[in-house]
């Protein structure tokens, strides 16, 4: 097993606004199987956060249990991290987010951790619109326990064992749309050109940003008959269009044909440009997205790309009117404002 990564990097690596290179965003060397899609997702997260010039200490990585949930060790080695109980990452993330609204929350989960043991937790994080990016590294099997079919495995799909899966799959993207997620996308670990801008947009989105990333399990689910292997996914891939993420400070220099591009401005002023591949998609309309997902599925296609977003959504802090400062920054003066304030409150209740 690979266990040593040389310390040397390319001498001409680009530097971001903070003066960091990509190396400052790396983590420990991966212990996953060689060729695992999850490692590509880790690399995409590293690249996206590097490009966004976010300081590593401003990020909290949260995960549950599983191959996917191991990956936060393999990126952002200088960020905060929390490995929760199986399927319980959403509640830990919610709590952390409530305590410190200034941090950036990256939740990493898998199909087992989200669609099976953590389904109840997942749904509530979605409906509360917790301000976080929630990534599912979806390989359709339980790789850590030798590749049993998972709840997202397509009916009829065969893993390495050779038995067709008899159960209907849970489509997490559709579930998220129905529960009111305010940013929904699907992608493929083998397509970083699509994935990196989506991660950048998801991190910049104010509210619950969900990305379902198909991530082949090379060891147990990359065989003929599987619908989540590299070859099958590449053959059946369709995209809503290409996505470009432009941070607030930059201007878009490329010009595109009018009518095909759609711009969505995020709360921080950055812009998501969607160059549509399918004219019938309205990314502000949940029903449009749900219909399109079904239509493509009927044609045996996997629809990827940005599916839905609501840039003006109200996140959990706004909904319940929490402190607008992180709790850790509240002083004794803030928390015990004194007798006079107490008197005023009491007076207001009389």
């Amino acid at each position: 097993m690979s266990y040593i990564k040389p310390a040397f990097r390319h001498p001409d690596l680009p530097v971001n606004d903070l003066g960091y290179t990509k190396k400052n965003y790396e983590g420990a060397i991966s212990t996953l199987c060689a060729g695992c899609g999850h490692d590509s997702i880790s690399a995409a997260i590293v690249q996206a956060i590097f490009e966004l010039s976010i300081a590593p200490h401003q990020v909290a990585k949260l995960s549950g249990i599983g191959c996917s949930s191991k990956t936060p060790t393999y990126f952002l080695g200088d960020s905060h991290g929390f490995n929760s109980v199986h399927g319980r990452m959403p509640s830990v993330a919610t709590g952390a987010n409530m305590a410190n609204r200034d941090m950036i929350y990256v939740g990493v989960s898998g199909d087992g951790d989200t669609a099976s043991i953590g389904m109840g937790q997942f749904t509530h994080a979605v409906r509360r619109n917790v301000n976080m990016m929630y990534v599912v590294e979806n390989n359709g099997c339980y790789g850590l326990t030798k590749g049993q079919d998972s709840a997202t495995s397509d009916v009829g799909s065969m893993s390495k064992k050779g038995e067709p899966n008899p159960f209907e799959a849970i489509d997490l993207v559709s579930v998220a749309l129905q529960l009111g997620a305010t940013f929904v996308a699907r992608s493929f670990s083998g397509d970083k050109e699509q994935l990196i801008p989506l991660i950048k947009a998801a991190i910049s989105h104010q509210g619950f940003a969900f990305i379902d990333i198909i991530s082949p399990c090379v060891t147990f689910n990359n065989n003929p008959g599987s619908t989540k292997g590299y070859e099958y996914v590449r053959d059946h891939l369709a995209a809503t269009g290409t996505v470009d993420f432009v941070p607030m400070k930059e201007e878009l220099t490329t010009s595109y044909q009018s009518g095909t591009a759609e711009e969505v401005t995020l709360h921080d002023g950055s812009v998501v440009h969607l160059y549509k591949g399918d004219e019938s998609l309205d990314i502000h309309n949940r029903r449009s997205a749900l219909k399109l997902i079904k239509d493509y599925k009927a044609q045996d296609k996997i629809l990827t790309g940005l599916l839905y977003m609501d840039a003006d959504s109200q996140d959990l802090h706004e909904t319940i009117g929490t402190s607008n400062k992180p709790l850790r920054s509240l002083t004794e003066q803030d928390l015990c404002p004194g007798n006079k304030v107490l008197q005023n409150i009491n007076d207001s209740l009389r």
């Binding site: 097993m1 690979s2 040593i4 990564k5 040389p6 310390a7 040397f8 990097r9 390319h10 001498p11 001409d12 690596l13 680009p14 060397i29 991966s30 199987c33 060689a34 060729g35 695992c36 899609g37 490692d39 590509s40 880790s42 690399a43 670990s189 083998g190 970083k192 082949p216 090379v218 990359n222 590299y230 070859e231 590449r234």
Partner: protein, 593 residues
């Protein structure tokens, strides 16, 4: 861009930067690994086969390999390749080495070859031809073999024992030596009916400086290379208290350091050009400065000042270097008062030239520009098909390792020529490429890249070494430091091979590569591709390794060879073994192989 043809041996040869840069193409990573394993005799023999004088070169080589070393592009300093070579030579088992010398056939093949000059080029020709049964006569005007290695390189840099041992490995093969014999006529040699004649007489004439006072001061003005030679053969044993050395090359460095050892109190090196343009190797300048020798730049000699028939000083004009648009330099006087520097002796070390007064001009051997013989740069044959040139005698002053490289090629030519074959049909290099895989994630070489910075070679105490001309200044690495320095080698000969048919395009190699060498993208022109890779690919001297376009997505794999660490992680992280680390061994084919 077209897919890379990895079947062309030169492609992977170029990836082994050190070996490619070495004129003799010594397989450097191969012997460095052997040193790390403590197999010093094996490491020595790998060297000896290729460069013939590992002990000499491990101390004196111009090291073209080191500026080429990939490590120098990854961090600040290249691997100390030259001094590692010395570790092999210092620690070899002499008895074992003698036993491993090639067998010399008792029955000769009846062909006779004359070698004129006893330096590295001639000795290399002898080394390659003796095992094939040739009878060889070697002529030299010195009392013993080695040529400039003996007369020009002071003993404090190259002890005589080291030189003698390596010269004798060859002479002991049964070379018939005619020492103390100055050949004053090529005709007389040709008259002896040799089947081939090799001229390896070096560039024996030191340049003089014709300025006022030269003749009057004659007794105390020395031509650098002649003076060094006279010191080496102990005809000269002392020099004045104040010495000026003119010139900025390695000969100047040897002259000034030798002067310090022959009783000079103060020695100054004075150079016409700016210091940055001095030709001496940086480490030789450093060594001279460590001994307290100052260097003065931008001083052009005007005059030798002679008083009462004795040299007392030199006058210099101060100049500055001015460059025109094409970068051509001229030294422009500052118009200031000349500088007077007192001296008792002066060594002129401003270059050396070839000189062939002993070659008659009616032998069918044509001379061209600058009165140099016309020599084919591949076959080393002159226009007289029986006569071959090599070393400094062929194309002007170079260095030992170049002379050795010439010697090997000359031996090939002579062997072909005498056997009636076409000398232009050069033998192909010997190449092997073998997978290094031992387990799923294990390689037979140490793929871990250490972070150590270059180790410094220890030196003898300056005060002690200045007292003894024969005391070696550099002490060489001990075995432990040699091991640590050897570990800095990146094993560039463990090549990364890519097999398109096995690749599933999972990106694992792209993601793990520490130096972002690998990219999968759509094909384009080289200029275009270089802008689209995972990391900047601005080093145009380094190739891009391109797959064919048979990958499932129709993209191509592109690997920028520039800063690949050869750590093998791409191959370790590849689920289908589409990447494999294979050891590439390239050796220049020698005569008779």
């Amino acid at each position: 861009m077209k897919p890379t043809d990895i079947k062309d041996p030169e492609y992977f040869h170029k990836v082994v930067d050190c070996q490619y840069a070495c004129p003799a193409h010594t397989p450097v990573p191969e012997y460095i690994r052997l040193i790390a394993m403590g197999r010093y005799s094996d490491a020595y023999m790998v060297n000896w086969e290729s460069n013939v004088f590992p002990g000499v070169l491990g101390r004196t080589c111009d090291r073209p390999c080191e500026p080429a070393c990939r490590r120098g592009r990854v961090e600040d300093e290249p691997v100390a390749i030259c001094r590692l070579k010395r570790v092999a030579a210092d620690n070899k088992d002499d008895t074992e080495i003698s036993a491993r010398m090639p067998d010399i056939p008792a029955r000769k093949n009846g062909k006779k070859v004359a070698l004129i000059g006893g330096g590295p080029a001639s000795l290399t020709v002898a080394r390659d031809l003796m095992p094939l049964g040739y009878s060889i006569d070697l002529y030299d005007d010195q009392p013993t073999g080695g040529g400039f290695m003996r007369s020009q390189i002071p003993s404090f840099r190259l002890p005589e024992t080291v030189l003698n041992q390596e010269v004798n490995y060859i002479l002991d093969m049964g070379v018939v030596t005619q020492f103390n014999t100055y050949v004053d006529s090529l005709q007389s040699i040709l008259d002896k009916n040799y089947d081939a004649v090799f001229v390896g007489t070096g560039a024996p004439r030191g340049r003089d400086l014709d300025i006022p006072g030269r003749r009057q001061g004659e007794a105390n003005i020395h031509i650098g290379i002649d003076w060094l030679s006279s010191v080496a053969f102990e005809h000269t044993e002392k020099i004045g208290k104040k010495v000026i050395v003119l010139g900025g090359g390695n000969t100047a460095m040897d002259c000034c350091r030798t002067s310090m050892r022959l009783g000079a109190d103060s020695v100054s090196v004075i150079v016409r050009s700016p210091r940055a343009e001095m030709k001496a190797s940086p480490w030789e300048i450093e060594d001279a400065e460590r001994e307290g020798i100052p260097m003065f730049e931008n001083h052009v000699p005007l005059e030798f000042v002679v008083k009462d028939d004795k040299l007392v000083a030199m006058k210099f004009d101060r100049v500055k270097a001015v460059y025109d648009d094409s970068g051509k330099r001229s030294l422009v006087s500052l118009g200031k008062e000349p500088v007077l520097i007192e001296c008792d002796d002066v060594c002129i070390a401003i270059g050396q030239d070839n000189s062939f007064p002993w070659i008659e001009r009616d032998l069918g051997l044509d001379f061209g520009k600058w009165d140099m013989p016309m020599v084919n740069s591949v076959t080393f044959q002159s226009t007289n098909p029986k006569v071959f040139f090599g070393g400094d005698a062929a194309f002007g002053p170079e260095n030992i390792i170049t002379a050795v490289a010439h010697g090997h090629q000359v031996a090939v030519s002579i062997d072909l020529f005498i056997n009636g074959e076409d000398v232009n049909k050069r033998p192909a290099p010997g190449v092997t490429l073998v997978s290094q895989k031992m387990g799923i994630h294990e390689w037979s070489y140490d793929s871990d890249v250490v972070n150590d910075v270059r180790y410094a070679v220890p030196h003898a105490e300056v005060q002690l070494s200045l007292k003894d001309r024969l005391m070696e200044v550099e002490l060489g690495f001990d075995q432990d430091t040699g091991f640590a320095e050897a570990q800095r080698c990146l094993n560039c000969d463990a090549q990364t091979l890519f097999v398109e048919a096995k690749c599933i395009e999972c990106d694992a190699c792209v993601d793990i590569c520490p130096t972002d060498c690998i990219t999968f993208t759509t094909n384009g022109t080289q200029d275009d591709l270089r802008t689209r890779l995972s990391a900047p690919a601005n080093n145009l001297a380094q190739d891009l390794y391109l797959s064919n376009d048979s990958l499932p997505t129709g993209r191509v794999m592109i690997k920028d060879e520039d800063v690949c660490l050869h750590c093998g992680l791409c191959a370790e992280r590849c689920p289908t073994a589409a990447w494999d680390m294979q050891k590439f061994l390239y050796h220049v084919t020698k005569a008779g192989q």
